[in-house]
Amino acid sequence: MASAVAGAGIALTVITQFYPLLYRFDETNHYVRCDCFFLSQAIAFLGVALELGMLTKYRTSFEKNKLIVLYIYLLMPMIALIWQLFFYGISLLQIMNTISLMCLFMVDAFRQTQKLVAKERELNDMKIQVVLSQIKPHFMYNVLNTITYLCDKDASVAKKALYDFSMYLRGNLDSLTSRALVPLDRELDLVERYLSLQKLRMGDELNIIYDLEDNGYMLPPMTLEPFVENAVTHGLAKADEGGTLAIRTRLGEHNHEITIRDDGVGFDPASYYIGGEGEHQSIGIENVRKRLWSMCKGTVTISSEKGKGTAILICIPRNSLEEG
């Protein structure tokens, strides 16, 4: 139907070029309406009416504001078409079209601004969640208690532990306030501080392997630490004899790959996200996943087996920012 109306309009305009049907130009080269001019208006009117009909039919698909603007966008030219039938001299249709388009543009710009504000709010929420997830009273009390004990037993170890703890807290804070990608070395440094503090408590029950073949690239801050922390507190600390945590970096064909593997208690991935303690942990993991994707199109793959351990594979595209 719409094609037929549009076709008729084009056909009439083409015919008018050879035969004065809708309009003509007089001897002084001025535009003059012909007897069938109303046809051009009628066709345009029909076209807009069709669009109005469609809009009304599918009105539930649009938001209220968008719907109002679309109605204005169609009604204003319609009014102009009727006006032009009876009054001659001002090309009201062009003015109305311009106003309609401006309305559309303004609403679209407003929507974009709203979207930006919402995104900003979401990012802030995520940051707050990360901050909250990093405040771990148990971990802090344990470390401070261990350091207190070490002060009497071995002052030099206590001194190093205190230094590691302060650097760990500082690194955490820096990472949380940073929006830019950070070098892998900085992330590894944070992880090493954390693990050396955990090792104070777990001793020989915690073996750590750093196997670093690929370095010199950037990644979002606080990417590794949450996984390492999960591996220690939920994987290895719960195993009777502790275990080994291995952090390996490899250069793949398309990605920089980081694997964090522990041989702790593991979990059943199928039941992990449905209620229980996994749900709380998964918020932190989901945050990392979102930040990885939004900041450098990176991905996380988690595989685990109860009783055998957990492996986390983080992939960062090779074309993301290399460390300068």
Binding site: L195, D204, N207, I208, I209, Y210, D211, L212, E213, T244
Partner: protein, 98 residues
């Protein structure tokens, strides 16, 4: 035990920290075995090694044997306790100490 391996082409830097007992020796042996391929230089940093068992000595000896065939191996200075064991067992003469 903390094992840190950093590879730069055909050079591998390995840092061993903590107690190299029987259980940890298995771990170190496995990690070294994975890295020998294409290796020309192995640098062992044992400055913070607190203890080494006979199984640990065996791992270091095996590494030295492998590297004799394909390149060089150097060993850093170490703690007094470990150095005493090296001296008593004659291992100090086997390694190229840095």
């Amino acid at each position: 035990m903390t094992i840190r391996k950093e590879r730069f082409g055909d050079v591998l830097d390995v840092t061993l920290e903590g107690r190299l007992d029987t259980a940890a020796s298995r771990l170190v042996a496995e990690e070294l075995a994975q890295s020998f391929y294409g290796l020309h230089e192995l640098n062992l940093d044992i400055r913070r090694l607190e203890y080494i068992s006979s199984a640990g000595l065996r791992v270091l000896l095996e590494a030295q044997r492998r590297m004799n065939l394909q390149g060089i191996m150097t060993v850093s200075q170490t703690t007094e306790q470990v150095q005493n064991i090296f001296d008593a067992t004659g291992f100090a003469n086997l390694f190229t100490m840095r």
